[in-house]
Symmetry: D2
C-alpha cells in the first residue's frame, strides 16, 4: 500500500483527490493538512466523504509528510516550493497540482507568477505530468507537476498536429469554456451562484497564466516555437472544460481522423470520437477521460478540434492519480475507471 | 420629482432598487452610498445599468441624504438606526429594507439580533410596509420598515385565514424555498455556484430571524397569538421564494377560494390564481406580484396554500417602491408594472 | 457471475443501472432492450458509457431475457406485468423499478394507475424492495418491486417513528423537493431547461401516485392506518430528493436522535447525521446513501426530519442493485460504494 | 395606436414579443394566433402575462390579420411565406422573425432550408432588419426580416472592421455560445434540463443555417466576399449569446477602440465598452442592448472582439420591436428601455 499525504486538502482538487483515493486499492491515506481547518474531520467539511474517509485535517508537518511514500500538493502556486523540497529530501515523492514546477524556464515562471521561484534547483527534476506525452519521464521521476486544466484540454487536442510539425507558420486559436469549479472554493464574488449562473463571459483576454505552459508543451512537441491565442470563458456549470481549437491544414477529414486515432490508439484516457461527433462535457463528468473530435470544414483549410475534460479529474486530481500510478508501477488506470455521471 | 437617496447600494437589493427607480417617472436619483466602492461609477459595478444610471458611489453623508425627499436603506441590520434618525430629523422620509424597524417589541428585536437597538424611540413611528395589511399606516408614515422576503410570502399566504380567526388552536407550517440571492452579494462559500447549484438543503431549522416578524403580523391579524413552524430551504436558483403553507380548516375548496379572491380583489400586486393552480416562481421573476393558490385536500381538513414571489422585488426592493408610492400619494403601481421575465 | 438483462434501458434509470453495473464485480451484462433504439450501440446514446459498455439495444425478446439470471425492468408502469410473468416463469428473477408490483392492494393500484393490473397473481410474491424494512423478504423473493423515489425518502425518514407507533392520531406532512430527472428522459415541455431552471413549483397537490405506497409502508410499520400529506415540488437541479417531514412528538431531541441512530445503526446506506445537521442533496449525488437529520423544535412538540437521497440511485437504480445483491447472497454494498460527486 | 397581430405566439419569441408589447405605449395588441392552443387564454399558457394580456389564441385568419397595421411572424421557417404575402397585399406591414426573408439569394435559401421558397417575389421588398446597418431601408419597408440571433451578435461585432475593408484576405472565426432558449420551446430531448444543464457542447460544426446570412451581411458591408468560420455551442443557461470573434489586423488597441466607438456613437442599442472590458451575457438579460468589447493582443496581430446579446431580445423580439418603431416613425427606443435583470 502506498502511504499518501495531501497538503492543502480543503479546496476542490483536494476533495476530489479524496474521492478518488478513498477507494483506490493500493492507497492508504495517512495525512491531510489544512491550516484553517486544523482538527476538523474531513467528513464534517465534506459530508460526501462520511463513511469513506475518517481523517482529520492537521497543520502541515514536514515529518509526518516525509513518512509518506507520496505527497500530493493541492496548494495555491508558490506554496509547494519549500515544503516539497523538504519532503523530497526525506525520500518521499511529490505530485504537485499547482503551477510551481510546470515551467522549465524559471524566468518565465517568475514573470507570470510575480514572485521569485522558491525551489529552482528542483525544476530540472520535475516531470510534466501529461502521461500521453511524457510517460517515461513520469515513470522515472520523484517530482511530477500536474498540468493545468486548460493546458490539458488544449495540449491533448493539438498534440497530434504539433508532433507532425503541422502547427508551424500559424497561430492556433484555443477558445475555452470552463465550469466555475476552476476558480476554486475561495469565497469570491465572481464565483457566487448569483453572479456566475445564467451568464457567460470571457476573462484573462490580455493573457492567462496557463499560456506559457501551453506554449512550452506544444513547442516541445513541434520541435520549434508554437504560439496560440488562448481565450478562456466562465460558463454556468460546476465541472467541465470544453476547448474549441482552430487551426489550418491541408489534411483531409479522413487523414485527420486517422492521425488522431493512431496517435491515441493506446491511450486509456483519450477517446477519439467518430468523425462528425461533438463531445459534451457531461460525457466526462467525474471521469478521467478526455474526449476529442476532429473536424475539417468543407471548402476551406479550416480544422476545428473539440476537446472535453472534467477540469477536476483529467484536469487535476484524476491526472494526479494517473501520474501516481505510473510513478509506483501500478496499472495506469488503477482506481480511475469511473463512468461519467449522466445525467 | 421625488429626490431619492440610497444608503448601501452595492448589494442585490440596492441594484434592484436602481433597476426599478432608473425609469420611475416620478423619481430623481440623487445619492447612492457605499463605503467600499466610494468613487466607483454604479454602472461599472453593475454593467446592466450602463446608459441608465450615471451616479457614482459616495461615502454616506447625512447632509447629502437629508437633502433628499426619501432615503432607502439597503443596509445590513443594525446599520440604519442612527443614520435614519438623523435623516428623519432633517425632514426626509425613510424606507428601510433591513430588519431594523420591523419588530414592535424592542426586547424581541434585541434578543434575535444580538445587539442593543440603536433607535428605540423610532419604533412606534415605523409602519410595517406590507400595504396589503397596513396601507393607511404606510400612507401616513415617514418611516416604513419593508417586510422580509420570507415574511412577505408567508403573511400574504396566511392573512385571509388569520384575519378570520382560522389559525387559532393550530400551528401552521411554512415550508419555504428561496433562491440564493436571498443570501446577498457577500462572498460566502455557501453561496458559491459550486456549493449551491445542483443541491438543496434546509437551514435555520432551530430558528430563523424572520420568525418573530411572521408571528407579529399574523397575531396582529388574528387578534390573538398565532405561531408558525418556519423552515427555509436554499434552492439552486437566483431569484424567487416559494412558500408552501400547511394548516387545517373545515372550509371547503370553494369557500377558501372565495375567501382569498375577496380578500385580495382590490390588491394590484396579489394574484389569487384559479382553483387547482400551482404558481411557479418564474411567473413572478422581476415583477412585484405575489401569486397565490389555495388547495383543500380531499378526505381531510388539510389546507395547502402556495405562494410565490420574487424575493428581490415583492420581497424587497419592489415592495419598497410600492411603499414609496403610497407615502408620496402616487399611484401604488407607478413604475412597478413589469412583466415577469419568462423564460 | 450473474447474467443480467435490462428491459427499457434508454431512460435515466436505465443509464444509471448501466453506470452501476458496468463495473459491478459479480455482474455480466447480457441484454438491454429498447424498441425505439433497436440496433443502436448503448454508448452512442450515452457517450459516458464509451469504453465501459459495448452492448447494443435489442427489441425485447422473452427468450433472451429468460436466459438471464436477473432481469431489471426500467419501464413505465403497466409495461412490466406480462413480460415479467414470462421471465419469472422461465426461472429468471425480476427487479422491477416501476410501480407495477409495489402496491399489495390491486384495487388501489388500478384506481391510481387507471388500468387493469396485468399480473395480479404475482402481487403476493413480490417483495417491496426497501431492505431497511423488508430485507429478509427481499432475500427470499424472486420478484422485487423497487420503491418509488419519493417514498424511499419519506419512508426512511419516518420509519423509526412509525414503528414505535408514534405517527398515530396525527397526519404527518411530507414536503418534498425533487430534481428534474425524476420526470424522466421523455421530451416534455415542462422538463425543458428553459421551463424548469430558475424556477420552482409544487405539483400533484390534489394527489400523487406515490401516496398509496407511502401509506401502505408506514401503516404496515405502525400496525395501524397512517396517513400523510405529501406535496412534491419540482426544483431546478438534475438529481436529488429532499424530504422535509413534519410531525409532532413528546420525545426530546436526545431521545429522537437516539431512536434514529439505533434504528439505523446497522444500515450501510442510511446515515443518521449528528443533531443540528441539515443534509444537502449534493452530499449524496451519485451515491446510494440516504442522509437523515432529526430536529425537535424548541418550546413545541414539533419534529422536523430532513431526508436526502439521489433519486436515481437510492431512489431507483442503486436501490435496485442493492436488492439484487441481497437476492443473490452477495455483500449488500457490493458495487455500490461510490463517494458522492462534490462539488 | 398601432394595431398589432402576432402569428405563432406560443414559442419563446412570441411570449417575449408579448412582454415587450404589453406596455408599449403606441401598440394595441389585437390578434395572436396558434393552431395548437386555439381558445386558450395567453395568460393561462404564460402566467407571467396574467394581468397584462387578456387575449386568447385564435387560429390564423388572414382577414383578422389584415385588419392589423402590423403583423409579427414568430413562426418556424417556411411558414410565413404565403400568409405574409396575403397580409401585405391587404395593406398591413410584416415583421418576420423567421429566416424566410433574410437571404437575398433565393437559391441559397432553398439549399440551406431544403424546400422551395414560398414567396420569392417578396424577397426584393424585404429589408434586413439590422437597423445599425440598414436603418433607412427598414424605415421605408413594409416587410422586414429580423436577423437571426447568432448573426446579430456576429455582425454587430464585425461590422466596423468589415465596412473598412479589414476582413479581406482572412477568414474570421466566430466562436458562439448560446443559451438553450435559442432552441425554442419545442419538446426536444436535447433541450431538457437534465441534458443541457451542467454541460456544454458544440453543434452544427459542419454548417449552421445562420452562416449564409452572416456571409451576406458582412460581404455587403465589405463590398467584397467575406467568409467566416462559425461554430455555435450550447451552454447551460436560458438566455444569452456571447460571440467571441477572432481576426487579424495591424490596427492598435487605441485605433480599434476608436473605430468601434465612432461607428456606434449614435446607436442607442450598441454599447462599446471601455478597453479591457469583457461583457457578460447577464448584463443584457431582458434588454435590447448589444455590448461589445474589442481587444488587440500584445505581440501579435490578433484581434478578439467580444459581443453579448440577449438572444430573445436584441437577437429576436426586441429587435423586431425596434424595427417596428422605425417602420412607424416612432422613437427607435420606444418601449425598449428595459434595464437588464441582474442578478
Amino acid at each position: 500500500m502506498i502511504k499518501v499525504g495531501i497538503v492543502g486538502g480543503t479546496g476542490y482538487t483536494g476533495v476530489e483527490l479524496l474521492r478518488l483515493l478513498a477507494h483506490h486499492p493500493e492507497v492508504e491515506l495517512r495525512v491531510i493538512t489544512s491550516r484553517s481547518e486544523e482538527g476538523v474531520a474531513v467528513a464534517d467539511l465534506y459530508p460526501n466523504l462520511r463513511g469513506h474517509v475518517d481523517l482529520k485535517f492537521t497543520v502541515p508537518d514536514a515529518q509526518a509528510l516525509a513518512a509518506c511514500d507520496l505527497v500530493f500538493f493541492a496548494t495555491p502556486h508558490g506554496v509547494a516550493h519549500a515544503l516539497a523540497d523538504e519532503v523530497l529530501a526525506a525520500g518521499a515523492r511529490v505530485v504537485d497540482l499547482s503551477a510551481d514546477f510546470r515551467l522549465t524556464d524559471i524566468a518565465t515562471w517568475e514573470s507570470w507568477y510575480g514572485q521569485a521561484h522558491g525551489a529552482p534547483h528542483l525544476v530540472d527534476q520535475a516531470a510534466y505530468g501529461l502521461p500521453e506525452r511524457y510517460r517515461s519521464k513520469v515513470c522515472d521521476s520523484k517530482l511530477v507537476a500536474v498540468p493545468g486544466c486548460f493546458p490539458t484540454s488544449i495540449e491533448l487536442g493539438l498534440l497530434p498536429l504539433a508532433e507532425k510539425g503541422l502547427l508551424k507558420d500559424q497561430r492556433a486559436i484555443a477558445d475555452c469554456k470552463t465550469g466555475v469549479s476552476g476558480a476554486g472554493r475561495g469565497a469570491k464574488v465572481g464565483s457566487l451562484l448569483c453572479e456566475a449562473s445564467e451568464s457567460l463571459h470571457a476573462y484573462g483576454v490580455s493573457g492567462h497564466r496557463h499560456l506559457p505552459e501551453i506554449r512550452q508543451v506544444l513547442s516541445d512537441a513541434a520541435g520549434s516555437s508554437v504560439d496560440v491565442t488562448f481565450i478562456p470563458h466562465l460558463t454556468p456549470m460546476i465541472r467541465g472544460i470544453h476547448a474549441t481549437l482552430y487551426c489550418r491544414s491541408d489534411l483531409s477529414q479522413e487523414e485527420l481522423q486517422q492521425l488522431y486515432q493512431q496517435r491515441y490508439a493506446d491511450e486509456p484516457f483519450v477517446d477519439v470520437m467518430p468523425a462528425g461527433s461533438a463531445p459534451s462535457t457531461r460525457s466526462v463528468k467525474g471521469s478521467n477521460v478526455c474526449r476529442i473530435a476532429v473536424h475539417k470544414l468543407a471548402y476551406s483549410d479550416q480544422v476545428v478540434i473539440l476537446s472535453a475534460i472534467d477540469n477536476l479529474v483529467k484536469g487535476a486530481s484524476g491526472q494526479a492519480v494517473q501520474n501516481m500510478n505510473l510513478m509506483f508501477g501500478l496499472e495506469e488506470t488503477c482506481g480511475l475507471n469511473h463512468v461519467a455521471l449522466m445525467p
